[in-house]
Structures are given as C-alpha cells and as structure tokens.
Symmetry: D2
C-alpha cells in the first residue's frame, strides 16, 4: 500500500528486515551480561538511543519505493548512507507529471529566515505564480516530446532532451537504508528547517517507521525529535 | 587556475593532500619488509593497482571547485564516497547561466544503444532544438525573477521559485574525495558509456590527476581505463 | 542452521532481504524500457555484473551471526561497508575457546611469497608449535580468570584483563552487509592471497550466497572470481 | 613531532588539508548570501556546529601516524569513516613492545558500571597482576620468535605465529579522517564512558585539533563535549 504525498508522489514499503527485537538481539550480543539489568526491551532500546549506541539500530533495514519531484530528490540524495536505484531519463521517457503546489503552500520568501518561507501568497500574485508554474511545465513537456519525436526527423537523444525539463517534474527510485541512518534522515528532514516538500515525505516515513519498530520510534521521537541539545555554556 | 568545461563550467583545484610518495609511504607501513623486493616507487604503485590494494590510494585527497549543469550534478552526486558543499538555491538566487550544447553535440537518440547518442542532428532539426533550449531557458529564468520579485508583491520563496528552472541551469560545489574513489569515479565517468556532458568533466580531472600523481595515474590508465575484464568462461 | 568453520567457529544466517528478483526489480526501475531487450532475469543479472552496474546488487541484504578467532576478526573488520555488533569483552567474560590449527594447516613461512605459507611443518617442529599454542592459550586463560577473580581480592577490570589473551581466542558478532559489498568481500577473502583462516569463512559464505541468490552468485563467480583483469599494455 | 601516549605509543601528524577558514569557505558557497548576517568566521562556525550542519567540517582532513596496543586498535577501527593502512603481521615481524599499565591504572572491575573500572588495585594483588602481564607477554614473544626461527627448522608462517601474541602488543597505522568524523570519534572516545587506554589517544588528538582548527575545536567542545542532550520528556 502506497502512502500518497504531494500531488502525484508516494512512499511505498517494498521490504524490510528486522524489527524492535532485532535491535535488542544485536545489543544483547554486544553488551552480553551487561544488559541484564535492563530487564525489558523497551527500556534497553531507550538506553541505546539515549547513549548514542547507534550500531544496534543498523541491524534493521527498510526498502522504499518513492515517487518525488526532482528538486526534492536533489536534497534527499545528499544522504549518502543509503542504496538507490533511480528511474533513468537516459534510458526512458519521463511522464508528464509535475508538482504544482497547493495554494496554501505558495509562500513568500521569509524576511527573517534566509532559507525559509513566510506568509502565504494571496489573490492575484498567487494566481500568477500558479499560472507560470503550470504553463511553463506544460510547454517544457511539449517541447520535450517534440525534440524526442522521430516523426519526420531524427529525434534528439533522451539524455539531452531531458535537460529542458524543470525541477518540479517527478522521478522515482528504490531507496534502501538502515534504521540508524533513516533516523538521521528523519531528524534532519522531518525538522522545521527542512523544506516543506521534503518534510511531507519524512512525515509519511515517520508513520511507516512508527508502525514497523514502535519502541525504537518512540525512543527516537523522545530523544531526537523532541529533545534539545544544550551547549556547555548554556548549562 | 580553472580548467574550462562546457560553455560556462569549470573544474578548479582548491587543495590537495599527499602525492605519489604518500601512497608508497602508506604501502610500506602496511607491507613493511614485504615491499622491499619492489625496489622503486613506480613499480610498487603498479603492483598495488594490479592487485586491487586500494587503501594506500585513499591516503591522497583532493578538493575541487566545480561549476556544472544540474543534470550533470545529478549523475555526479551519486558517487557517495565524497564530501560536498553545494550552492543553495534556498538561500541564494541562481545566476542566469544555462548549458546550451554546441551544435556538434546535438545528437540523435542512438538506435542501437538505449542510453546513448547516435548521429549529430542536422539543419533545421538542429536549429529547432537549439531555439527551444535557448528560449525555454530564457523564459524560465525571466519567470523565476518575476516570481521572486518583491516589487509591488510579496515575492515567492526562493526554495519554491527554483522549481521552475530547467536541468541545464548551472550550479556549483566544492567536492573533496580520496584518490581511490576518484579513480573509481573516473573509471565510470571518463568511460564511453558515460554521457558526454559528464565525461568532459572527468577528462578535465584526468589531466589534473596526471599532473598531481603521475605514477598513480599511469597505473590507473593502464590497468583500469585501458584494461579489460575477462570472464572465467571467456578465459 | 550454522555452518561450522575451523575448530570452534561458525557462520549462521540470521536474516536476509531480497533475492535474484529484487536485483532485477531495481534494475528495471533504473533502466526502464532500456532493459526490455534483455529478456530473461539471468541474462540481465549477468549484464549488470559484467558492466559493473553495482547498485542493483545493493538492494539485497544479509545478516550473519559469526564466531571467529580475533586475528581473523581483525582482517574482516577492515571491510567498512557493513553493520557490526560484536561481543564485548568490557561487559562480558570471554569463553575458553582458542583456535588451534589442524596439523595440515601448520605451514612454514613461504620463501617466495612474503605474505604466504609454504610447506606443512613436519614431525617434532609441528609438535612443538602445537604444544606452544595450546599451553600458552591455556595459561593465558588461567591467568585471565585469576586476574578477574573476586575471591579474596578486588578483581581486575574485565576491559584490562582481556589484554592478556592471545589473538587466537574466539569472539563473535552479528554482521550485516548488502550483496554488492559482500561480493567485494568474497572476491578479496575467498581469493588465494587471503589467509587460509579467513578464506574458510569466505568459502562457507559463498555456499550460503549460492543458495540465496543463485543467478547473482553464478555471475559473480564467472566475472569476478574466475575472471581476470588485463592491463592495456597486456592487451 | 610525536605526542607520546601510554608506555610506547604515540600520535604524530603526518599531513593535513584545510583549516578554520576552509570550513567557512565551504559554508559560504553553500549558504551564499544567507551567511552574510553572520559577520565573523567564529560565529559562523559556531552556528554550523549548533545546527548540525556537518558537511562544511568534512572539508578539512588530517592524517595521523599512530602507534597503539592491539586491544585499543580493535576499538578504534570500528570507526568506519576513515582511511587506514596498518602494519602487517603477515608481511613483517612485530616488535617486542607490550602495553603494561602504570600502577595507578590497574583498576578493579566497577561494581556499578558493567563496562567500567572501579578502585585502583593495591599491594599484592596489583603486583601479581603486573607480574602476570609482564611474564605472559615476554613468554608469548619468546615463543613467537622460536616458532618463526628458521635455524634448524622450517619456521612457522608469520601469519600463524602472531596468533599467539596477546592483545597488549603494539601495532601501528596511518589513519586519515575528515574533521566532522574526527569530532564524532572524539565525542565517543574522549568521553568518560570510553576505556582509559583509548581516551588518552583521543585526548592527545584533541590537543592536535585545538591547535589546527581553534575555532572549530572551541565550538565542538562547547556543543558536543560540554553539551547535553535532553529528551522531550525531560524538557
Ligand atoms: C553509465 C552509467 C549509467 C548509470 N545508470 C544509472 C541508472 O539508470 N539508474 C541509477 O540509479 N543509477 C545509474 N548510474 C549510477 C550508478 O548506479 C552509481 O550510483 C554510480 O555510478 C556511483 O557508483 P558507486 O556506487 O560505485 O560509487 P560510490 O557511491 O562512490 O561508492 C563506491 C563504493 O563504495 C561503497 N559504498 C559507498 N556508499 C555506500 C553505501 N551507502 N552503502 C553501501 N556501499 C557503499 C560501495 O562498495 C561502492 O561501490 C549509472 C552510472 C553509470 C556510470
Ligand atoms: C535544513 C538543511 C539545509 C541544508 N542546506 C545545504 C546547503 O545549503 N548546501 C549543501 O551542500 N547541503 C545542504 N544540506 C545538506 C547537508 O549538508 C547534508 O548533505 C545532508 O543533510 C545529509 O546529511 P549527512 O551528510 O549527515 O548524511 P549522510 O550522507 O547519510 O551521512 C551520515 C553520516 O555518515 C558519515 N558519512 C557518510 N558518507 C560519508 C563520506 N563520504 N565521507 C565522510 N563521512 C561520511 C558522516 O558521519 C555523516 O554524518 C542541508 C540540509 C538540511 C537538513
Ligand atoms: C563506550 C562505547 C562502548 C561500545 N561498546 C560496543 C560493544 O559492546 N559492541 C560493539 O560492537 N561495539 C561497541 N562500541 C562501538 C560502537 O558500536 C561503534 O562501532 C563505534 O563507536 C563507531 O561509531 P560509528 O559507527 O558512529 O562511527 P563510524 O563508523 O565512523 O560511522 C559514523 C557514521 O557514519 C555512518 N556510517 C559509516 N559507515 C556506515 C556503514 N557501513 N553503514 C551504515 N552507516 C555507516 C553512520 O551514520 C555512522 O553513525 C562501543 C563504542 C563506545 C564509544
Ligand atoms: C590479501 C590482502 C592483504 C592485505 N594486507 C593489508 C595490509 O598489509 N595492511 C592493511 O592495512 N590492510 C591490508 N589489507 C586490507 C585492505 O587494505 C582493505 O582494508 C580490505 O581489503 C577492505 O577492502 P575495502 O576497503 O575495499 O572494503 P570496504 O571497506 O568494504 O570498502 C569498499 C569500498 O567502499 C568505499 N569505502 C568504504 N568506506 C570508505 C571510507 N571510509 N572512505 C573512503 N571510501 C570508502 C571504497 O570505495 C572501498 O573500496 C589486506 C587485504 C587483503 C585482501
């Protein structure tokens, strides 16, 4: 079952390995007798999270099938500790599917945060932006098809024609990652500093993870998402 | 000094660590007395390359400043064993610079190779393609500026406005990598299967590397670029 | 079911994700229509292996429980692209189990290969070596227990006492890795240049992999294990 | 110049790339105009550290030559994000150098902390432990030499003979790492939970780093070493 994200995107679980008890199993081999005093699994998982004992979380692995706009993919791929196979626009023709923000997501540049959004655009300005995004996407795709076409002409190579397509076109990939590095991704991308369009993917994955490894997710939420890091000076 | 690549791109060496003798130094600590029979440095480097002893090559590191089209950056970033800081289109406004292929690079889709190029486009077809690429890029950038503009309107957030820009716009980054993984990158990207537009960057880097670590580069060229892998059945 | 290796060691599969068809599935998303001409899965997998398209192999993952002598663990852990949880000698007391080579493995230093073995030791010399290994291991373990003992004394910290134990004592770990990096491990460690004591683990894992992903393993065996790399000069 | 650590060990800087200003340079390319409001370099570096913007710190690299006991090396090598070349006991003969703890480091097992040390051993118990460690090391090394000897016998292969050596023998390696991952190493290993024998190496490296990149080190010390992570529940 796919979790829908944005206007055409999704996150779908393809496969996973391990669960909360696999984390505990690995921790108990590591820490052996040393973990006996932590009697229950949930407590042990919280202990590992609190003390940054991250390797037991690497014992779980998940594989997702994701459909996402290219500008989101460009942020996502910066997380190097994952395995990826992306749809190739050298081999295949991309579909005519573009991300067009919902009106309430059409936000102005923030005046206080250089990398963020401020108020939602209103009225004519909003309409003008939507009109630009839609018509430019449509025209770019028409031109893409015209350049590729082999009717009455040679047809431009796919690997070249795609350079005309804007960054809101959708792509897709298989993305496989271990739970520790997934938590790292979620901490950065489900965070308020992350761009809304990647945050909704992170939020969808948070739900998947909460279902899959409830104890680990609860510990993550408490210590990483909800927590705070204080400097020595602040203390 | 920057090496120019494509119409607006470049590769510039920012810094490096180590040279041919650093590879030898590391190999000699590893292999100790065992390397004495290989009397000269060049011979030892060839020996390491031939036998896939890759860790001594990791002892050299290079940092490049690169300016490149986004669709090239998307291929490049797939090499995870590097350190990257890219210009941010959330924080800053991108420049009006687009890659427009030289006429001799406007190639048709190959009919025999699904991911490759065939003959160069001719006459009217070539002209039409160039015209599309130029005018779509120009219009997209005009619209980008109009959406961002804060004159008489709020101005769309930069992180949203950039989604309208096509994949041939230029970006730039600092890219730092060790020599072993750089050779891996060059083997894949200076290869004839790689897209022309990334290959020219790989070729430029090959020259940089040949200057920097001549013995290692010569061994790489002989065993990796010029070499061949035969299957057991073929043997 | 555990595969026995050496005198007290084993390799046991704990879990895996994916199989031959998961490799194909990932390759087909990447290469899309481009893979249609390779009609069958086995052919596609051979194609990927031959052309070093390694990322689809990263879509499979395996988790092993391994018991192995410390000097073997020291070589194994150098493979960084894996997830590991090892039994801790800070938290727990190690068992009295040491690797004592079988007589036919007691080999002399090779006179032609600085890192290899030559003829099997014979007669008195072999007996003397076995006697040393056994009695030193036994004495070291007795002393380990004496230092740890809290009867009539404080008892030395476990993290200190273990420093007296020789490198043929057994340890154990969970080790999880993707198929591409496992093949890389096997290529280096099932190879004749690898020390016998790690090679037997690699050989046991080869059998596990041949069962798990038969088409991928066959391609690996043909192109990597049985193959040969020729230099440009040799060609 | 080497920094002496433990009885025979050292840490020696072989080379480095970049400094505080290289971090700033990379951050300014990333964040472009966005960083203008942070007027000075030190402030920007503190900002990056506080917000876990770790990639600019990856732009600095350091290469160390380290001599250390094998049981310390076993902990150290678990940090996978580094480049390593270790002295090989297959190729070469190890020196007769063993770590023997200073009397004040001969600690009892902690009764409250399963992985820690308690009170220092006293009097006869301490003397007995030291005597065991010294004589076992000496005997193991004598036997190592006897097994290797080719006088009047074949001589056991080096790769086998070394299995008799205890974990307090010294080894050495070149170790190269970027600054972000070095900070991660230091946070874990200069911490009070780390074993004393690796902590003294981390402490020596802290001094090296404070000299090399003073602003980055000060930020690290304040936010990572001296800081604290609070859970959502605690807040
Ligand atoms: C001609 C060509 C066509 C291509 N077509 C496609 C395509 O259609 N679709 C597509 O998705 N990609 C495609 N690629 C990209 C390709 O799949 C690789 O992503 C890219 O070449 C980088 O190679 P790499 O993974 O070996 O490099 P790096 O990421 O630099 O890795 C080097 C090695 O380090 C190890 N490693 C590094 N990071 C990890 C990690 N997180 N987990 C496990 N091991 C790791 C692996 O052993 C790896 O081989 C293509 C590449 C080429 C050259
Ligand atoms: C709000 C926000 C704003 C951002 N702005 C920018 C920007 O303006 N410019 C920009 O370039 N990026 C930007 N990024 C991306 C950021 O710099 C990271 O690339 C991204 O967050 C991935 O983080 P990571 O490197 O920790 O993850 P991963 O790549 O998954 O790595 C996890 C950890 O593994 C280790 N690691 C993995 N691969 C390597 C390797 N090859 N070498 C060394 N260590 C490795 C490191 O310890 C790393 O921390 C931004 C990210 C966020 C969340
Ligand atoms: C006090 C203490 C006690 C410990 N006790 C034990 C024990 O009992 N048993 C035990 O086994 N270990 C133990 N360890 C070791 C610990 O589990 C880690 O292996 C070690 O601290 C290295 O940390 P790291 O993995 O974060 O570092 P690195 O390997 O340097 O990795 C840094 C980051 O890069 C990414 N990364 C790098 N390589 C990979 C990869 N191949 N796959 C996925 N992500 C990767 C991850 O995000 C990782 O967090 C202990 C460590 C400490 C400090
Ligand atoms: C016969 C033999 C003899 C050997 N002798 C010695 C010796 O004398 N001394 C010695 O020190 N070692 C020795 N080694 C170990 C060898 O140097 C490698 O450490 C080991 O084989 C692991 O190989 P790897 O680095 O390719 O594997 P992995 O660590 O699994 O890495 C796979 C690939 O991923 C990438 N990668 C992963 N992590 C990183 C990272 N942190 N930074 C950059 N790229 C990364 C690289 O592209 C790498 O090739 C020997 C190995 C063999 C097989």
């Amino acid at each position: 079952r796919a979790h829908e994200v944005l206007d055409h995107g999704f996150v779908r679980v393809v496969d996973y390995m391990g669960d909360d008890s696999a984390i505990v199993q690995a921790a108990r081999v590591s820490y052996g007798a040393g973990t006996k005093h932590v009697s229950n699994d949930e407590g042990l998982i919280r202990y590992l999270m609190r003390h940054w004992h991250s390797t037991p979380f690497e014992m779980c692995e998940i594989k997702l099938h994701v459909k996402l706009p290219v500008f989101v993919a460009r942020q996502w791929i910066r997380h190097r500790t994952a395995n990826v196979n992306e749809y190739s626009a050298r081999y295949s023709i991309l579909d005519r599917e573009f991300y067009i923000p919902a009106p309430e997501q059409l936000a102005a540049q923030s005046t206080i945060n250089n990398q963020g959004r401020g108020e939602t655009l209103q009225g004519e300005e909003a309409a003008r932006v939507l009109e630009i995004l839609k018509s430019d996407a449509g025209r770019a795709y028409d031109h893409y098809e015209q350049m590729l076409s082999q009717e009455g002409q040679s047809g431009l190579a796919r690997e070249l024609a795609r350079m005309n397509l804007p960054a809101n076109i959708y792509t897709q990939w298989y993305w496989k990652v271990d739970l520790h590095n997934l938590f790292h991704f979620l901490r950065l991308r489900a965070d308020s500093h992350a761009q809304y369009e990647i945050r909704v993917y992170a939020d969808a994955i948070c739900k998947v993870v909460a279902d899959w490894v409830p104890a680990a997710y609860a510990a993550f939420e408490d210590y990483r998402m909800g927590g705070a890091t204080l400097s020595g000076k602040a203390l």
